[in-house]
Symmetry: C2
Subunit: 166 residues, 2 copies
């Protein structure tokens, strides 16, 4: 039951454009699944709600070890000035790995909205300690996309995060 003293859960979307941005990322993840790829999606939006770029993991589709969803979204956004990044939010269906977190830090992206972090906890602590706002939604659709994929293709998933297969 709502009470004014209830703290805002970190799972709440706090900006009006967050539902839109997150949905684009989720649709990207679903497109990745349809293509037979790792179902992780991402999108970069300005704070005002303009979509700059979106993409999904392309390891399977393009044999790419660097086109994680977040990198694909940044690549789709193309060359941008620092001021654009510094007024943007990156949406991603899964907690960002060290490469993607590093890209967030490189460009000074101040805010990251994450679908879920039960499959993997990326570099959320590093992001927070460098001043990035990190919102985790705990979205079951994102979790299910990943758990289904990992059940079918564990070796592709471990390759994507640089872990030896057990």
């Amino acid at each position: 039951m709502f009470s004014p003293s209830t703290p805002t859960p970190t799972s709440s979307l706090s900006l009006p454009i967050d539902a839109q941005g997150f949905n684009v990322a989720l649709t990207e993840a679903q497109n990745g699944r349809t293509e037979g790829g790792i179902p992780i999606g991402s999108a970069l939006f300005t704070r005002a709600g303009v979509q700059l770029g979106a993409g999904h993991n392309m390891r399977v589709q393009r044999g790419s070890p660097t086109l994680h969803a977040e990198i694909a979204a940044l690549e789709a956004a193309g060359r941008q000035s620092a001021n654009v990044y510094r007024d943007s939010t990156l949406y991603t269906t899964l907690s960002p790995c060290s490469m993607c977190s590093g890209a967030i830090l490189l460009y000074g992206i101040p805010r990251v909205v994450i679908g879920e972090n039960t499959t993997l906890v990326g570099e959320e602590d590093l992001l927070r300690c460098r001043g990035v706002e990190v919102v985790v939604l705990g979205d079951a659709r994102c979790q299910n996309l990943m758990s289904d994929f990992i059940k079918e293709h564990p070796e592709i998933w471990y390759e994507d995060i640089g872990k030896p297969t057990a």
Copy 2:
């Protein structure tokens, strides 16, 4: 004068293949300059001396915000298993930014050989504290490539490292 008690300077190449790996990275940087791009090059080698991939920064040539030299080298190497990365060295002409350092951490690359870190000190401390061996060569050719480029195109350089132009 050599004495047994002299500590090995961090500027020395410590593996027999380092000269070869570093030269590939330097040639990539020079190719980037010839193309009118940001002159940073990189190469990924196995410890045994097999070249896995090489590349250079493609911001200007392909309008890419994510194909830093190190990412281009990893992309050229294609999909690799964790065991391959964990027995490799990444050569780069410039100290790696947070994105490229994050990629090194993602794939568990244990060793990075850096041409110079006077133009930029990337995430060397983070790499070291995560157990990555970091060797800095202080190579004047790498420094000159960058200082010449930055004199001509400061705005492209600042864009590449996510900094607002002054």
